[in-house]
Each structure stands twice: as C-alpha cells, then as structure tokens.
Amino acid sequence: MNSASATTERSARSRAGPWNAGEEDRPVLSVHELKKYFRLSGGLFGAARGYVQAVDGVSFSVSKGETLGVVGESGCGKSTTARLLIRLIKPDQGRILLDGQDVDGPNGISVRALRHQVQMVFQDSYASLNPRHTAAEEVSFGLSAQGVARAEARNRAKQVLDFVGLDPGVFADRYPHELSGGQRQRVNIARALAINPRVLILDEAVSSLDKSVEAQVLNLLIDIKNRLGLTYVFISHDLNVVQFVSDRVLVMYLGKVVEIGPVEKVYRSAGHPYTRALIASRLSMNPRRRIAAPPVMGDLPSPINPPSGCRFRTRCPIAEPVCAENEPLLAAVGDDSLHVAACHAMAPRSGHSLAPVPMSRTASASGA
C-alpha cells in the first residue's frame, strides 16, 4: 500500500515537473510497479526451487525527447527491464504505458503496436546479427516481416544504412563477419531505426565496443536522436557514458530503483549511499587520486533471497536497524522533487538517525 502511493506520488511529480519542455509533459513511456520473477525449476518434477526477483516493483517514466540513463551493477535487472519494456518477456505484474495507453491491457495497445514504436539495440553486436544475413537483409527483415514489399523494404534498408553512416554500396551485401564491431553495431541500430520507432532502448549498446569506436557510435546515437527526435532509454554500466548521454539517471540495485534524478544532480549530490559508492568507483584521470579500496564491499546479495527491508543494507556503510525492518520509499533528495532516492537516511520520519529533520508543519502532522 505504501509503495503504491509512493509510486503514484512520484509519477505525479514527474508529470507535473517535466524535464524537457512545457507542453510535452506527458511521458512517452511509463512503467508502473513492474515485476518479473524468474522461476528456478530444478526440484523434483520441475517444482520451483525459488524465484529470482530480477525486477521487483520498478516504476519510472520517460518524457518525449529525453534520454533516461539506467545504471547498476551486473545482475541488478537492467537488461530484464529492457526486455520487459519491449515485451520480449512478459511481466508478472505491473503496467507499461505508451502514451498513456496500456500495453497488452484492456483498451490498450497490442504488443505488435508497441514494437512499431519502441525498438531495442542489443549489447552483443555479433550475436544479435544473423550470420547468414547480409546487412541489408538484416535491416529489411523486420520490415518485410511486417508486410512491406521486399523491394521497398530493401530500399528503406539502404536508406537507413546510409543514415547510420554505412555506405549502402559498400556494406549492404556484407555479412556480419565481414564487418567490424562498430559497423555491426551500426547495422543493429539501423535495424531498429528501420521500423521508424519513437523510443529506442539501448541495452549496453556501446559496452562491447572498443573505446574509439564507442565514442563514434555514441556520437552517432546522439546525432540520430537529435535528427529524428527520438526518446532513449540508455542502459549501461559505464557511468561516464551515462553521464555523457543522459538527461536523467535511474540507478538500480537488485531489481529495485534506488535513485532517479537529473544527471548532474545525481552525479554531484547523490542521495543513496549505493549511488555515491558507484560514483566514487569511477576512475580518476589524475593518477594521484588513485582508488585502491573498492567503494562497495562484498558481492551483490542473491536475488533469490534478497535482504529484508532495504536491499542494499548488507553492504551499506550507514545501515541501521530500521533498514532491515522497512523497505525505504523514494523520497526527495534535497529540495528538488525530481531527484528522489529510496533511502531511509533521506526520508523524513523514517527512524534513521541521518534522516532529515522534518519541517515544523510535517513534524506536527507526525505528532498528531
């Protein structure tokens, strides 16, 4: 009950205070209390041994033209969230809204319609291309599968290849093994763009590229976004890349959202201790400021049996008994209602010793 009210509160906030422009305050894509538990079968006769709580009650929204960066450790549910967004996997609970319309819900839009508008670029540029398809075949496949005539789909494929910086005369008939990593990722991007989507989900889209190519592809992505007016959900474990491309950042930990906020606010004054640790873990350009100790000790706890209360408490430097008892809700960090973190130390009246002292009005309310 508590979490639900917090969600509506938060989504109301993000609607009321858009990051971009005044009129486009309705989110293109919004997600409410998304849950995905993977069943662990392996017991007798395939009985469930347990559930991996990959994504557990994630809510956020993305406004038009915005880039939402999603960061977190490996295994925190970033990729599962991406797959849920484009319905490659079905959520166990929760809703995905595209322009306020329920995806696959009553009176909503179909998954097919969702995939006309939302597309995804995968991490592994090689594995996500069919080794038996040329670049043009790969890009046109989705179109012809949707009923576009073959010749027309091929023309469109060549246009899109050109658009992502691959000369169709040279690259259209090349197979994946005849392309470099950056070129392959461009083909992947072209395949997504061929559908003419409005939202692009980039799941670690530049992570497997080497640094120089990564920069090229990043610039290409930014260029495409500006030219086509796209909205990005940019998933990465690379904090520098996320800082470079994102307008807002969402930090995930063990299937939960721990912090959302405008990029410079989150990077400058993170509310959640996990975000602070992540940001501290970035390597400095200055060799005198070398990092020797890991900023977060220990391993990620098992998502099959996550810790009670706050999931980060087992590794948190400021954990207190209250953290094991109650699950923290997203609360505003500082005075910016757009920047929220799920930490008891940020929430007034949470019982945490570092919790901000409530203002007199709220204090009297709590007293009553």
């Binding site: 484009i86 995939r115 594995a127 996500s128 291309l129 038996r132 496949f141 599968a145 949707q146 395949r191």
Partner: protein, 301 residues
C-alpha cells in the same frame, strides 16, 4: 557520384572503389560457392550419371536384365557380350546394375526426402516453441530411439507387410526420428541467440522468424545429416529385401543383388562385390556432395 570522382582526382592516394558486388540472394551465393568447389562438383556429376542411367535404363542397358542363361553363369568381367560379367543365373551384370539403380536410388532418396521434410518441420517447430511442446514431441521421438534402426525397420516392415511401397514408408518412419532430433537440437541452439530476440523485437511473427532466421541457420546441418543417411537407407532397404520384406527377388536392386551373389563370393568374388561398389560410389558421392553443400552454405570463407 560526381563528387566522389572529383575527390579521387584531388586526393593524393587514389582510392579505387570496387564496383558494388552483384546482388546475390543467399541461395544464389550458395550455388556460386558450390560451383567453385571441384570435389562436390565431380561427385555431383557422377551422381547425375548414375541417376540418368537409372532413368534411361531401357535405352542404355545393353541387354535384358531379367534374361537368364544357365550356360553363361558367373562369367568374369570383360567376357564377350557381358562387359561386367554375369550373375549366378547368367543375367548381364551391367544391365542389372543400371536397372538396379532405379529401385536402389528410389529407396535411398525418397524415404530420406520424406523423413527430412517431416523430421525437420517437427524438429524445428519443437525446438522453436520449446517448453512443454518440445518435451512432448521429443519424448515421443525418444520411443523410436529405444529400438536399433534395423530392428525398427524389420518390425515396421513386418507389421506393414512386404512390398516396395510399404518398404518405403517403413524406411521413412525409421529415418524421421534421428532427423527430428538433429533439427530440434540445432533449432534450440539458434532460438536463444540474440538475433532471434532482435527479430522478435522488430515485430516479426514466429513463422517469418522460422523461415528467415532459423531455417537459414539449421538447414545446412539438417541437409548434411540427411544426405549421409541416403547410403544407410540404400543398405537398409537391401537388408529388408533380403529378409523378404522389401523388393521381391527377380527385380534388380543393388542390395538384393549383393545378397543373392553372396553365395558365389568364393567362385566369382569380383562379380559379387560389384553391387556393393555401386552402393559405395553412390553413398560416398552423396556424402562428399553434402559436405561441399555444407561448406557452400556457410557464408564464412
């Protein structure tokens, strides 16, 4: 175009742009690679000769393959009038080998073709759907694996009754399970690849993904495996004929000839192995051709 030529005249290092490759579909590319490979081309040529000889047997065969002559039994190779000698009833070996190809090739090719069509569709569907559907289909297939293929063939042929058509059906049934298994395991591997997920994400339906992404990747494996079974089918059909469950004796069939000449192996060993040589040449050619086909179907050099 004009700007690129202007650039190339100005540039110090002239970049010679190769003319764009002639657009080839996947199968055109496979055909082209196959034509450049000598071994499968030679094997294909031999097979074409054998098949053509079988088809045009009445015009090619020098003698009537069923005309017996007790005086000219087991003549050696090169004897006058009989280029490859005669068999134990004095029938012309060359004519019988040419005619024998009709039944043997039919018994090798047709059951395997049927088994490949049925087995690969069942296997690909099972592999692609996965989960419970896959389990049910594959456990049924496993029942057939419980029997050795020869025993299964004999049992099925016995149940269906003798005769060439029943023999054909029974061979198709025997070879369907292994092809299904190969198709299923190949598909299961492809199904979990990112590019299949990506195709689903672009909104492609399951049938179009099967045709566009799964088939292009599993067909070479299935074809290679299936063509290696052709020779097995020829031998197995001859085994069934030997047991009286397939082709009836007067008919010329390589397997049957091998069986009837078996008694003469100490008198005329060369004559006795001739049908076996034909089976060997045919199966080796099919195997090498399928090998070449697999290489040609792989886009990587």
């Amino acid at each position: 175009m004009s700007s690129s030529t202007a650039n190339s005249t100005q540039a110090q290092i002239e970049i010679v742009r190769r003319p764009a490759r002639i657009q080839l579909t996947y199968w055109q590319g496979v055909g082209r690679r196959l034509r450049r490979d000598p071994i499968p081309m030679v094997c294909g040529g031999i097979l074409v000769l054998i098949i053509a000889a079988a088809i045009f047997a009445p015009w090619i065969a020098p003698m009537d393959p069923y005309k017996t002559s007790l005086l000219q039994r087991l003549q050696p190779i090169g004897s006058p009038g009989h280029l490859l000698g005669t068999d134990e009833l004095g029938r012309d070996m060359l004519s019988r080998l040419i005619y024998g190809g009709r039944v043997s090739l039919l018994m090798g090719l047709l059951p395997i073709t049927i088994a490949t069509l049925v087995g690969s569709s069942v296997g690909i569907v099972a592999g692609f759907l996965g989960g419970k559907t896959n389990m049910v289909i594959m456990r049924i297939i496993d029942v057939f694996f419980a029997f050795p293929s020869v025993l299964l063939a004999v049992g099925l042929a016995g149940a269906l009754g003798a005769g060439p058509v029943n023999c054909l059906i029974c061979l198709a049934l025997v070879f369907t399970p292994p092809i299904t298994r190969v198709a299923e395991s190949a598909t299961t591997q492809i199904r979990n690849q990112d590019f299949v997920e990506a195709a689903r994400a672009t909104g492609a339906s399951a049938p179009s993904i099967i045709v566009g992404h799964v088939m292009t990747n599993v067909s070479s494996l299935i074809l290679t495996y299936a063509s290696s079974l052709i020779s097995v089918a020829i031998v197995l059909s001859s085994g069934l004929s030997f047991l009286g469950l397939g082709i009836a004796p007067p008919t010329a069939d390589w397997g049957l000839m091998l069986n009837t000449l078996r008694q003469s192996i100490f008198i005329a060993p060369v004559n006795a192995v001739l049908p076996g040589v034909m089976i060997l040449i045919t199966s080796v050619c099919f195997n090498l051709l399928s090998d070449g086909l697999r290489t040609a179907m792989d886009v990587k050099p």
